[in-house]
């Protein structure tokens, strides 16, 4: 099998409920080696739950998930050594200093890139007193940067980041993204990260996946999605006869008009542009997010 086509993460029919509240409803998903995917979804859509289920940190109610071809609930040491994870909570190991925490984690991994760690610590503001200050006394941004350094230090093949830039200021986000692009993606690392900051996603993610109603509602290369996604609006009579191959959702408005969200081929787009009864609009990522997760 071609390395770039190798499936690192495979989820089939994942189901997860909390009490009577279903979160994942038969979710299917695949991540191939080297793929960089931004996972999008509204608050409470289940992004963190999905990532935790994919890592075997949560039991599922149904379906199966594998990492590197191994069932996630029984990962081997070798498989675990290839995973880097940044949880949403940045307040980790607050009683330790960054140096103590990183030394501790170095003891847990067979491979540890000291040069990378040293470089990141220096570049991300841990070269002074912050290095020996208890993590509990660091700012939210510093803790998150440290969490990212820890996840990158053993050079994982799969990097899972749950809202990694939520606490970072614009400079911190830019540095993180530069590091992610410069180091991680070039190593052919598979990256999946959830985020709400769409502008960052546009800078990094090669693919985006929308989690909606417990399933991956839409996934594809970001450029292609932005290029092909259109909102087609018109009268009910005009829209009802439309049969688009890449239709995502259809909505009837109070004023009697109907709009269709769809991925259009060039031919379809040209045909619709030529239809006077229909209005076709291109969508940016934010519009797409709103439309898909409605």
């Amino acid at each position: 099998m071609n390395a770039t086509n190798m499936t690192l993460v495979q989820a089939d029919g994942l189901q997860k409920s909390f009490g009577r509240q279903p979160v994942l409803r038969g979710l299917d998903w695949q991540l191939r080696q080297g793929q960089v995917v931004g996972l999008l979804g509204r608050n409470g859509a289940g992004k963190s739950t999905l990532l935790e289920c994919l890592l075997g940190l949560r039991e599922t109610d149904g379906g199966s998930a594998t990492l590197f071809g191994e069932p996630v609930m029984a990962l081997s040491e070798a498989a675990r050594a290839r995973v880097g994870y940044v949880p949403q909570k940045a307040e980790l190991f607050e009683w330790l200093t960054p140096v103590q925490m990183l030394d501790y984690f170095r003891a847990l991994y067979p491979r540890w890139n000291d040069v990378l760690v040293h470089g990141l610590l220096t570049r991300w503001g841990f070269d002074g007193e912050a290095k020996i200050k208890p993590i509990g006394r660091l700012s939210g941004g510093e803790r998150q940067r440290l969490s990212i350094i820890r996840a990158l230090a053993h050079e994982p093949d799969l990097l899972v980041l749950d809202e990694p830039v939520a606490s970072l200021d614009p400079v911190g986000r830019r540095d993180f993204l530069r590091e992610l692009i410069g180091t991680v993606i070039e190593r052919d690392t598979t990256v999946v990260f959830s985020t709400h900051i769409l502008s960052d996603l546009e800078r990094v993610a090669l693919d985006v996946a929308f989690l909606h109603e417990g399933r991956i509602g839409l996934q594809g290369p970001l450029d292609e999605l932005l290029e092909s996604a259109r909102r087609v609006t018109g009268t009910a009579a005009a829209v009802d006869v439309l049969r688009l191959q890449g239709e995502i959702r259809r909505e009837r408005h109070a004023d009697g008009t109907v709009s269709v969200l769809a991925r259009l081929s060039d031919v379809e787009a040209a045909a619709l542009d030529a239809t006077p009864a229909l209005r076709t609009e291109a969508l940016n990522l934010e519009d797409l997010f709103v439309e898909v997760t409605k």
């Binding site: 949560r58 081997s76 040491e77 675990r80 995973v83 949880p87 909570k89 991994y109 067979p110 820890r150």
Partner: protein, 477 residues
């Protein structure tokens, strides 16, 4: 009552309703039951009034905490600085509440004890002490210091002075001292803006959050985060050794002990071991003075509680606390290659927990036996230490449990813990009365064996349960 004053007073009542009102009703019921039980049942009216008074005084203290907490929150920096007269109103409300609470305690305890003055002074001092504790937690050591001082320093001159002055004068002098202390304490508790105020408010809110959480889960640290302290030294030494060893030696996987480092210093046996050492040294240094006033049985019970029950209970509390609190850390550890494989995880993790417990149990038993042998030698001490050590062993079973489904603390568990605390002195006193000439080593050995069997059964059962890390993920609450 004007709107502003009413708003300040309404907050603790609303908070009380939100938290649940059962505590207040339980104390009121306790007062009625105490009065009926002692006053009517035993026909001792004074005992009945005192019993009811204790419950009512406890109720006053509970409400004092309620008001104080609410007042401190309402005096948050922005409100204290921006709302005209807000701080002054809050301080006034708290001052009046202090006077009213002191008076209430004076009445409910003074009537039964026939010493209104002393009861009033004790009430006023206690309420003020609890208020000061909010800002100066180190004052929690004051009772310990008083106990130690009363054991080492002869207090006859003080007692003679108290007798000479009489209750009225002592009360007046005491209240005057408290009145002098009140304004600086009010400034400490209710500052008006500035960095110190912001820091204090944050600290208070964090502590309140942790305390709220502590009511719902098996254990929770009382502060949201605390810096490392001297009891954590053994933990940090262990962590350093682990990190250095890994740096020079080839990495070995599957060690559950390394996972326990992620539970922090409080879950390490270090604090318990150092605590046992400190109490042992203090007891030996005092040369018996510390226990002299209590009589044989009281001394032995106190010895067992201090050196056996408390370290074991504190260790279990710390571990369950850490398991609840450090779930995100556990997720990272579970994913690390050093973690045991899923199928073997609980076996190794449970074994590591039990090894740690065994260290604490051995140290506490050795400490109690040593202090007992030197300070209170005799068969009865051996009986009490042996029984407590054997009865302490089953506590290990609490460590090998279904952490994945760890739920909120049930009322039944709370009742069982309280019943255990109450029952232990009775059991020990009964044991000491029963075995005066020889220690029942067979019984003690049997109890210990039973505890080992129960723990072993739980440990085996734990192996078939979902992986312990991250804890609480399968709990529905």
């Amino acid at each position: 009552m004007s709107g502003a004053w009413g708003a300040i007073l309404r907050q603790p009542v609303l908070a009380w309703r939100l938290q649940g009102t059962w505590g207040t009703w339980a104390l009121l019921a306790g007062a009625v039951l105490g009065f009926c039980g002692f006053g009517i049942g035993m026909r001792d009216w004074r005992a009945g009034v005192v019993a009811a008074g204790v419950s009512l005084a406890a109720l006053v203290v509970v409400w004092w905490f309620q008001l104080l907490g609410s007042a401190i929150r309402q005096n948050e920096p922005a409100l204290a600085c921006l709302i005209p007269h807000q701080r002054r109103r809050i301080v006034t409300v708290v001052a009046w509440a202090w006077l009213a609470g002191s008076l209430a305690i004076g009445i409910v305890l003074g009537v039964g004890l026939n010493h209104f003055g002393y009861a009033l002074l004790a009430g006023a001092a206690t309420l003020m002490y609890f208020a000061a504790l909010q800002r100066l937690p180190t004052l929690a050591l004051v009772p310990l210091a008083i106990i130690a001082v009363t054991k080492f320093v002869p207090l006859q001159p003080v007692a003679a002075l108290v007798k000479t002055l009489g209750e009225t004068a002592i009360t007046a002098i005491g209240l005057l001292v408290l009145a002098i202390l009140a304004p600086p304490l009010a400034r400490l508790l209710f500052p008006r803006g500035g960095d110190a105020h912001i820091a204090w408010q944050r600290q208070f809110v964090d502590r309140a959050k942790a305390l709220k959480a502590a009511q719902g889960i098996p254990g929770q640290e009382w502060t949201v985060w605390r810096g490392s302290t001297w009891p954590d030294r053994l933990y940090f030494a262990g962590l350093r050794r682990l990190s250095e060893r890994a740096a020079i030696a080839p990495w070995r996987g599957g060690r559950a002990d390394v996972l326990l480092m992620a539970l922090g210093g409080s879950a390490h046996p270090g604090p318990a071991l150092l605590g046992i050492l400190a109490v042992t040294l203090l007891a030996l240094a005092s040369g018996g003075n510390l226990l002299a006033a209590m009589g044989l049985q009281g001394s032995v019970v106190q010895l067992c509680l201090l050196l056996l029950v408390m370290p074991l209970a504190a260790h279990i509390h710390a571990v369950t606390t850490a398991m609840q609190r450090f779930r995100a850390e556990q997720a990272l550890l579970r994913l690390s290659p050093a973690a045991p494989a899923s199928a073997d995880f609980n076996r190794r993790f449970g074994s590591a927990l039990l090894r740690r417990f065994a260290v604490v149990w051995l140290a506490s038993t050795a400490g109690a036996a040593l202090v007992g042998a030197i300070m209170i030698p005799g068969v009865q001490t051996q009986v009490a230490v042996g029984l407590t050590a054997a009865l302490g062993l089953p506590m290990a079973a609490c460590l090998v449990r279904d952490y994945a489904s760890m739920r909120r603390l049930s009322a039944g568990t709370l009742v069982a813990v309280l019943a255990g605390i109450v029952a232990l002195p009775l059991v020990l006193n009964g044991g000491m009365a029963l075995w005066r000439t020889h220690a029942p080593w067979t019984l003690i050995g049997g109890l210990a064996l039973l505890a080992v069997c129960v723990t072993y059964y739980r440990w085996r059962r734990m192996q078939s349960l979902p992986v312990a890390f991250p804890a609480g993920r399968l709990a529905n609450d």
